[in-house]
Amino acid sequence: MQVKNIIKVALRSIMKSRMRSLLTALGIIIGVAAVVVMVAIGDGAQKQVEDQISSLGSNLIVITPGASASGGVNRGMGSFNRFTFDDVQKIKDEATLITGVTPIVRSGGQVIGGIGNWFTQIQGVSPDYLEIRSWKLKSGEFFTERDVLARSKVCVLGSEVAKNLFPDDDPIGQQIRIRNVPFKIIGVLSEKGQTSVGTSNDDIILAPSRTVHERLSGGRFISSIQVSAVSPAQIPKAKEELRKIMREAHKLTQGEEDDFTIQDQADLATAATETSKILTILLGSVAGVSLIVGGIGIMNIMLVSVTERTREIGIRLSIGARSSDILIQFLTEAVVLSLAGGILGVSLSFGVSYLLNNYTSQAANIQPEIIFLAFSFAGAIGIFFGFYPARKASKLNPIDALRYE
């Protein structure tokens, strides 16, 4: 009965000072939402990188042109596009610890066919590609070594491309024109999902490497060579073997540095984690700052209203409130505001991360621990600064509380 009355008094008091209540809750809302979202973004980015790497296939080894910069890792297009089909052939002939090898010849452009046109990337690869990338066909078939040697104008569509150009009918057997070169579609890839930068893995067309090389990329060099090792355990040995072969192929003498970089997934992962760690630290600091700013906001509002509230406490004491009544009231107020602010903050962060996940390329992955952490921190600030001055005031003589300035 008594406590019910005091909670009634507390809720009334919250409603009476809507502005103060709102500002207090706002500090908590912003603090909680900022922390949860920031950490979710950092975590999401890290997850994306991990996903992408694991989607590469666990035995994958990537050879890229150019020496690896000391300390850092050379990623993708180096300054030397010096790989040739002879390099690929040599690896195929001599390497013993691999199950497949493919050159990657990159090109891209406007594709016309089906119901309209579509801009996408075209990769020239070998028939080993599917196995190396542990990818599967949804329908049709993949091209063969004969197609590569014959420069056949056949292609396999990524599911995204197939969906966009042939939403209604079966693309297999149909013609498309890639940069005005007619290609016959012989297969469609299964869906693979998103890459770390949010683009679709499935927005791609695969074609025989030599066809792409000569017809589309204008005889440019091969941008990378991808190899799959026989097993994860054999990756170090396979790398060593590949290095020997490549050095021989490039006629490097002893003492000369490698003009290529060989990386397995672990190397890629370290490089990527390095980057996303920096991101996480950065975002974490931003989040920490906003939590502190939110906390200071709460503090300010509470302290500014201390005079008014001390007088209020004096009035309540003078008409017979016990100091425990005052404490319960203020604690209730602080808890209600912190809880409401915390819940709104968490909801806000869920909303923001939903928007991020669905309308931007940025993934956000909300972690329950962070919700808990942000919630309890903001709550603690709210409760402490709502409660502590009240505790002090409730110990005063009523007359001293009334006179407080």
């Binding site: 008409i319 016990r322 425990s324």
Partner: protein, 253 residues
Amino acid sequence: MARNIIRTSGLSKTYVIGEVEVHALRKVDINIDQGEFVAIMGASGSGKSTLMNLIGCLDKPTSGEYYIDGQDTSKFSPNQYASIRNQKIGFVFQGFNLLSRTTALENVELPLLYDRTHGIKDPVEKAKKALERIGLGDRMHHIPSQLSGGQQQRVAIARALVNEPALILADEPTGNLDSRTSVEVFSVFQELNEEGITIILVTHERDFALFAKRIIELRDGKVTKDFAIKNRLDAKEELKKLKEDSVLQGQED
């Protein structure tokens, strides 16, 4: 013999500010019985408010004894003090001390919410009755800033009497009011006193003190005079006179 409700002996209060000691009250002995109506007078700084705060259990004496209704207050726990303030005493301040942004009704209801003894069934109803009886039935849902000074003070009086206290204390209740409104407030006090509630109030104005039954005068923290009033004024009649005066003035204009 009426029952003694206030008894102080050697009641003293000393404020220490830095090196300076201010003796606000020096060994005050007062006896007040149930049903009395006492006006406390004295120059500014003579210790009137200090005495009221001690009697009202809002503050504690430096030395001396204070018995309320026969109970020794020095033995009270903080919670007992709170109960006394809630049950026995209604305090009316010069500055009203109403909760801002809070309706008259909710202000008056407040002491009932802190009541631990009666188990009051319908505090809202009780608060309404208290407001009606001091003539503010039509202002229940106004907040203090929407009320005149006299109305605010009447809300404060309603709040003081809602818990049916034995004692109403008022420190310069009309200090912020014009004389007409002041007389109105005094007529409320006289009415309450007639119902048996003991009233102690502080006033600066001799004219208003004559509405009481007894005057205690303080000087420099000591009681210098303590006497019963022979020609007591009736606030209702004074009010009637004031009204007639203003009607006459209206005719003159």
